[in-house]
C-alpha cells in the first residue's frame, strides 16, 4: 500500500518521507517483534533483573523477504520503481525458490522478468540447465555439507577443544556453511531457471578471495549489495572523510551481523568483519605497493590470510556464546594441546578434501556458463546437451543428492 502511495500519489517531499518512514518502520517492527524481541528481553533481564519471557516462533526466511520489501520502498521513495501490477509484486515477494534462504531479490531485476511473455512458457533449454544447477546444489548440501557436519562438533562441543580439534571444528564449519548455503542458493537458482527466471548469483567461490573486500564481493553477494545500497551509502559511505568511512563500515557490518540473528555472537562476527574491512581499506590506502617480483608469494599470503581471518570469524558466528567463541579461538592458539586421534585424522582428511573442492574446483556458474546479467546459460551445450558429460554427471549428482537426504537435515540459513 505504502509502495503504491509512493509510486502513484503526488505527495510533497515531507509526506513522501513520512510514508517511507512508516513503511520501513512497519517492516522493521514486524522483523523486530519476531526476531529480536526475545534477544531484547534477555538483555533487559540481565541488565535490570526483570523476569520478562518471550517465546515467539520465528517465521522462516523473514529476514530475506523483509529486506526485499525495504529495498522496494526505498527505491519507490527515490522514484526508481516502475508501476508494477500488484500480482507481479505479490509474486516477487512470495516467489518460493528464494523465499526461505535467499538470494535477496531486487524488484528491478526480477519483476521485469515476470512481466516478459517468454517467461510464461517453459523453455526446454532453461529447464535442463535448471535441473543441472539444482542437482549440483542438492549434492553440495546433502553429500558435502551434511557429511562434514559431524566434525564441526569437534570444535564446538560441550568441552573445550584441543588445538587440532578447535582448528578442525572451525575449518569444518567454514566449509559446511559454504556448501550448505551455496547449495541452497544453487537449488533456488536452478528451480527458478526451470520457470525461466534468472535469479542473481549469491556466491562466487568466496574462499578463493585474496582480500576481505574481495571476499564480500563473492560471499552472500545479494546481502552485500543490499547492505551497500541501502545502509552503507545512505549512512554516507566514503563521501564524508576517512574516519566516517570506517565508522560507516563498522556500523554496516555490525548491523549485517545482527541481521543474521538476535545474538551477541552475530554482532561480534559483524564487528570483526567490519574491522577486517577497515584494515583492508587502510592497507590499500597506506600500505606499501608490492614489487612485481613478489606478486606471486604476496598473492598466496593474501589468500591464506584472508581465508584464515574468515575462518576465525566463523567461530563467533557458530559458537553458542561470546565466552565459548573466545575459548575456542584461544585454543586455536595453543599448539601444545594436541590430540590427533582417529577421529581428528578422519576429520582432517574431510576438511582437506572439501577444502580442495572449494579452492580448486570451478563453481556452478562457471560450469554452466550462467550469466545473470545477460540472461544466458549453458550456451556451450545449448544445441546438444545430451552430448555433454556435465549432463550425465549432474544426473548422478542428483541421484546421490537424493540418496544423501537425511531425516534431520535443515539448511543453516533457514533460521536467519
Amino acid at each position: 500500500m505504502i509502495g503504491s502511495l509512493l509510486i502513484r500519489a503526488k505527495l510533497s517531499p515531507a509526506a513522501r518521507f513520512a510514508a517511507l518512514t512508516a513503511g520501513v518502520a512497519g517492516d522493521l517492527l514486524v522483523l523486530g517483534y519476531f526476531k529480536y524481541a526475545g534477544f531484547l528481553a534477555a538483555n533487559l533481564n540481565a541488565l535490570v533483573s526483570t523476569q520478562l519471557t518471550v517465546n515467539i516462533l520465528l517465521p522462516v526466511g523473514i529476514s530475506f523477504y523483509t529486506f526485499t520489501q525495504i529495498a522496494f520502498l526505498v527505491d519507490a521513495h527515490r522514484g526508481e520503481v516502475a508501476r508494477y501490477q500488484l500480482p507481479y509484486y505479490a509474486l516477487f515477494v512470495t516467489y518460493f525458490p528464494h523465499l526461505i534462504a535467499g538470494p535477496i531479490l531486487h524488484h528491478k531485476d526480477v519483476i521485469p522478468q515476470f512481466e516478459q511473455e517468454r517467461s510464461k512458457r517453459p523453455d526446454p533449454h532453461l529447464v535442463r540447465c535448471g535441473l543441472i544447477i539444482f542437482s549440483i546444489g542438492l549434492f553440495k548440501k546433502t553429500c558435502i555439507a551434511d557429511a562434514i557436519q559431524p566434525f564441526v562438533a569437534l570444535g564446538f562441543g560441550p568441552t573445550p577443544p584441543s588445538f587440532d580439534q578447535a582448528w578442525i571444528g572451525a575449518l569444518a564449519y567454514t566449509f559446511q556453511l559454504y556448501f550448505d548455503f551455496s547449495g541452497y542458493s544453487d537449488m533456488a537458482i536452478g528451480i527458478s531457471l526451470m520457470f525461466g527466471i534468472f535469479l542473481p548469483l549469491n556466491f562466487n567461490s568466496p574462499y578463493k578471495a585474496k582480500n576481505i573486500i574481495d571476499f564480500w564481493r563473492r560471499w552472500h553477494m545479494t546481502l552485500s549489495q543490499f547492505l551497500r545500497d541501502y545502509l552503507y551509502i545512505p549512512l554516507g559511505g566514503n563521501r564524508r572523510g576517512i574516519v566516517l568511512r570506517y565508522v560507516n563500515l563498522m556500523v554496516t557490518m555490525a548491523l549485517g551481523g545482527l541481521w543474521h540473528g538476535a545474538a551477541w555472537t552475530f554482532i561480534a562476527w559483524g564487528v570483526l568483519h567490519g574491522a577486517y574491512l577497515c584494515v583492508n581499506h587502510a592497507w590499500n590506502r597506506y600500505g606499501p605497493s608490492i614489487p612485481p617480483k613478489l606478486a606471486g608469494p604476496a598473492n598466496i599470503a593474501a589468500f591464506a590470510l584472508t581465508f584464515l581471518s574468515v575462518a576465525v570469524a566463523w567461530v563467533f558466528f557458530r559458537a553458542d556464546s561470546i565466552t565459548s567463541a573466545i575459548a575456542i579461538v584461544s585454543r586455536m592458539a595453543r599448539p601444545d594441546l594436541f590430540v590427533y586421534g582417529d577421529r581428528e585424522r578422519l576429520a582432517a582428511a574431510y576438511v582437506i578434501i572439501f577444502g580442495l573442492i572449494a579452492f580448486l574446483a570451478p563453481n556452478t556458474q562457471q560450469l554452466l556458463g550462467y550469466d545473470h546479467a545477460s540472461r544466458k546459460v549453458g550456451i556451450s551445450f545449448a544445441d546438444n546437451v545430451t552430448s555433454s558429460r556435465l549432463f550425465y554427471a549432474a544426473a548422478c549428482l542428483l541421484a546421490f543428492g537424493i540418496l544423501g537426504i537425511q531425516k534431520h537435515s535443515e539448511f543453516i540459513y533457514f533460521r536467519f
Binding site: L131, P150, R343, T386, C396, A399
Partner: protein, 363 residues
Amino acid sequence: MTEAKFLVVALCVIGVVAGFNFVVDPLQIFHPARFYRPVYPSEERMHNAGLIRSQTFDTVLMGDSIALHVRSSEVDEHLGTHSVKLVMSGAASREQNFVLEVALTRHPTRVLWEMNDSTFVDSPEIDALPYFPADLYRKNLKGMAGYLFNLETGREAAWSILRSWKPLRRLSYALMRAGYLKYDNNDLNELNTFDPALVASSYNAKRSLAAYKYYSIPGNRQRLSAGYSYDALVRNFERDAFQFIQGHSDTNFTIYFAPFSMVQYAAMRDFGTPDMLSTFYRFNAYALQRLAQLPNVTVFDFRDDSEISHNLDNFADAIHHSPAIGVLLLSRIANGENRVEKADPARSIERLKRQIDAYTLPQ
C-alpha cells in the same frame, strides 16, 4: 525427451545403490548376512530391528540401560535359553513394548524383562520419538525406502564387504573408532557390554555418592521428580506392560526389578517432591499386585536386597549396578531366589520402605 533421459539416468543410479543395499543388507533386515561377516551398529534401536529378523532365539532379553551390559551368553548359561538381547538404553515403556511386539512375531517362548518404575514415567507414542526408526520395525514402504535409498546404508554395506579383505581391515577399524562407520561391532555377544578393565574405575561408592550430591543442587532436583505422577505411571504400566503381557498368554514373562543403590532412594527422600516416595511405594505395590494376577508371569524383586543396594561399590551412579551384579541376578533368577510370592506380592516393597526410612548415607 532430454529431461526424461536425465531423470532416467538419475533413477538408474538410485536403483543401483538401492539394489546393492538390498543384496548386502548390512542391518540384516531382509536376510541374514550371506557372504560377509556381519557387523552391528551399537545404536540399539537400529540393530534391534535387524536382530529380530536375522537371529534365531527362544528368549528375548528386554530392558533399559540397567540391563544393557548383560551378555546373551550369560543369560543362556544361567537360564538354559537361546536368547537375543534387545535392551535399549533410556528406553521408555512404549519403546520396549513396541520392540517386544515385533520380536514376539518370531514366537519366542520366554521374555526376560528388566523393569523399573522410571520407564513408565514418560512414555510418548512411538511415532513421536524422532530418534526411533519405527518404520524399520514395521517394515513398511517408508521404512524400507529410508533404509534402501540411503547413501549411509550404502557406505556401511560397502565397508561390510571391504573389511573382509585383510589389507582394508585395519583402515576399517580406524574408521570405526573415528565414528565414520556406525556399524562397528562384529561380536554380537559383546554388543554394548562393559570393558572389564574399566569396571573398578566406573563402579565405586565415590561415583554413587556423586549422584546424591548432584541431586542436592537445587537446579537438578527437578530432574529427579519431573513427571513422576502416580496416574501417568499406572496408565503407562497398564498399556505397555500389563495389557501387553495379558495379550500374549502363550509366552512366559520373567520380570525382574533390579536393585538400585540406596543413594537413589535417599535422594528421592531428601530432594524429591514431598509425595515422590509415597508415589513410588504406591505404584510399585500396585504393579506387583497386577503382575501377580497374570498366570504367565514370574516376578523377581531385588530392590530390597540390602546386601546389594547398601554396598555403594556395586554402582556406577545412583541406579546402574555393575556387570558382576547383573550376572548375580541371573543366577538368583535361575535358583528362584528373590521371587515375589503371588499371595503377598507387595512384601518386598514394604521391606524396602523400612530400609529407606532407616537409611543414612555413609560419611
